[in-house]
Symmetry: C2
DNA sequence: CGAACATCTGTAAACGTTTACTCTTCCCCT
DNA sequence: AGGGGAAGAGTAAACGTTTACAGATGTTCG
């Protein structure tokens, strides 16, 4: 309770100088006798080093930050699950920042780098402003950005090809025979929102489908907004037979609305999400989702950051994680009488189980193929459908 | 990049002493001219205070810790969602620790209090050892424990009455006419595991049901373990007609296994979870769950901690959050032909929607009654079934 | 046996703040 | 006009470490 022993206290007790204490504590060469006395004094006093004082002198805090839009979105959780152990193994603690996608908050966090309480930062800005870019360039500690930044931005960067991801999903839906494919997006002024909007338009055009603005609707990246946006879309275009949603939360909202309106999924409307979070395997029906490799992105970001901390002035690096389509029952369920799921295997990433050969419940097995799950020993969704494994004849642990 | 300006740099630039700089920066009374010069020097130099140096002097880091077993369990997420804004409003940052329920890890975190990088800690130990108690007593910074600790432990404590929670659930299942009520628990050497085991035995006895050890099974608090434990239980006691699971993750595992074995939920086996996490509304069928008031517990813990930081030596306080039963379709679905859900309203907490008067889909409305959701403006499950609200004739925003 | 050297230890400065104390001004009042 | 005070600013110490440097002791070799 009082004020805790410092190296000075120990030095007195052991009858040596504070320098010797510090040396012993840091494992520098010392005479055995000195070491013994210091160690026993430290033990008797219950000494715990003051990390703040240490940081002041050493100019590092051994803390790293992770700034995301919303700690409630499981996509970030998936990243944290990967990031945490990597950083921890390297001796760092993780400080989380939930910014609510607020630019000011994000700038604040970046400014925090100057405060020296973190030695580096992984950030996922939903919007990238000029101010962001300025701060990236001026930042007094390494920053790794997950998500796209303008070409040439001098920052380590982990991205995914969401254009390709959208294409995979749209082609999958098209391959199922769907021709009125709607898109429920997040805000267009966000980086992913803009990218996915463009990708959707492009993918639809590439398939020769008519361009119908009524099929694209914008909400926000949350379940409730997704539900509302879907409701608007259904009203405007009652004949949609498929919905691609810009993330899984939106897709859950879409499922809510479809159920409420009595439309069957996937028979009447096939639904696909993006991010392939744990939510996808929990939803009913299990949700086809475009995996944007969140665990891989998290891990890559953590490694980039550590690497950068080791060599401050290497060239900025860009890591790209390929999207994969994970097919589940929300698009490929076979319980539509006389309408067997015609999964177009060619549009599915090679590492994904070919859903066209298995029955509806086993489609879920694809959920196991999220790779990079290996680090989290207690993965929540690791055994969600063991019957499925047998049916697929797949041990469910493919390489990424 | 170089070494950033300090108050010394500013002092030189402004032609004043470092003390004046410090005073200006801290808003202490200063002549307007001095203030002007300091401020403009600071601005020109892009000064950012070094929080580490400040901490060393002020002996506070403005960081608080939260130590939980597994960051992947949404029950903790629910707490964080409440804790974060409360602490943040008070000027603190949150540092998360995921301990994997490892006692050594937890002790390490407690020791971390001595390192002074956090000013206080909220901890949820699954096991409470003598060492824990010793550390609580000796801790150099305030600790708030969520979960039960032995009577008289000198620590602020937030708990829930899980005994009552188990009773609510068991009586609910009994009220539905179920007589072979199984229990899938977590490890018995954990605090909640032990408490829930005892509570289950007591509740079953109180209802006059025969004591059958085959009905209780132990796994761990994860989905995969829950699935395995459920499989064992079903093998030993094939005639179970209800399952209470010690948390929602276990319940999800149970649902997986029941689906695999072709048992209908709730017709063949009614399933209830505990914690009432977001998972409950995502599961299919939506999961009846005992709410242990996680958001409330999180918020209470945060407030206790702040309060304790303000007045260091007030008496330790204990806050108890009452459990409530949230009935959903996994126990009360009406699609069992000729077997209408006979919800025993008396066993349901008053604040819970009476499910016996509404049809199956509307039972989900109870999910809205989780109170304390108010702080998270973007609540994921806030609008999952708006049709339901109408049916219930309830705006869905009851007081706690 | 003394010099050169290796090995260990102590002294003191530094990290960037905050703050107690002292010093200077300047104003007001008697 | 001189003394008392208020108000502002400067000096220096302190927070608890790490570490450069110098000093002390003992060892080894010519």
């Amino acid at each position: 309770m009082s004020d805790g022993p410092t190296i000075t206290t120990i030095a007195q007790r052991a009858g040596v100088s504070i320098a010797s204490v510090s040396r012993v504590l840091n494992g520098l060469p010392t005479k055995a006798e000195t070491e013994r006395r210091v160690m026993s004094a430290a033990r008797e006093l219950g000494y715990v080093p003051n990390s703040v004082a240490r940081s002041l002198k050493s100019r590092r805090s051994n803390q790293l930050g992770f700034a995301m839009a919303d700690i409630g979105n499981p996509v970030y959780l998936a990243m944290i699950r990967e990031i945490q152990p990597v950083l921890r193994a390297a001796g760092y603690r993780l400080v989380l920042h939930s910014t609510n996608a607020d630019t000011d908050d994000e700038i604040d966090v970046l400014r925090g780098l100057g405060e020296r309480y973190i030695d580096g930062l992984i950030m996922i800005p939903l919007r990238v402003t000029g101010e962001h870019l300025k701060m990236f360039a001026a930042a007094r500690a390494p920053v790794v950005v997950i998500g796209s930044v303008p070409e040439g931005t001098p920052v380590d960067n982990v991205r995914t090809d969401s254009r390709e991801g959208v294409r995979l999903a749209v082609e999958h839906l098209h391959g199922l025979g769907r021709r009125r494919i709607g898109f429920v997006n997040g805000p267009l002024d966000t980086v992913p929102g803009a990218a996915r909007a463009a990708a959707y338009a492009e993918a639809v055009r590439a398939l020769g489908l008519p361009h119908d603005p009524a099929l694209a609707e914008v909400g926000d990246f949350y379940r409730a907004d997704g539900a509302r946006a879907t409701a608007r879309l259904l009203e405007r275009a009652p004949d949609v037979d498929a919905l691609l949603c810009a993330n899984d939360l939106i897709a859950l909202g879409a499922l809510d609305v479809l159920r409420r309106e009595g439309r069957r999924v996937p028979q009447d409307v096939a639904v696909a999400g993006m991010d392939d979070t744990d939510l996808a395997t929990l939803a009913w029906p299990p949700l086809t989702s475009v995996s944007l490799g969140s665990p891989e992105r998290g891990r890559a970001a953590a490694e980039l950051l550590l690497d950068r901390l080791a060599s401050r002035d290497r060239e900025p690096r860009v890591v790209t994680v390929e999207p994969r389509l994970v097919v589940r029952a929300s698009t490929a369920g076979d319980d539509a009488p006389g309408e067997p799921p015609a999964v177009d295997a060619s549009t599915v990433d090679a590492s994904t189980v070919d859903a066209s050969t298995v029955d509806a419940s086993t489609v879920d097995a694809a959920a196991r193929d999220t790779s990079a799950r290996d680090t989290s020993a207690r993965d929540v969704s690791a055994v969600d459908a063991s019957a499925v494994e047998e049916a697929v004849g797949d041990s469910g642990r493919e390489a990424p």
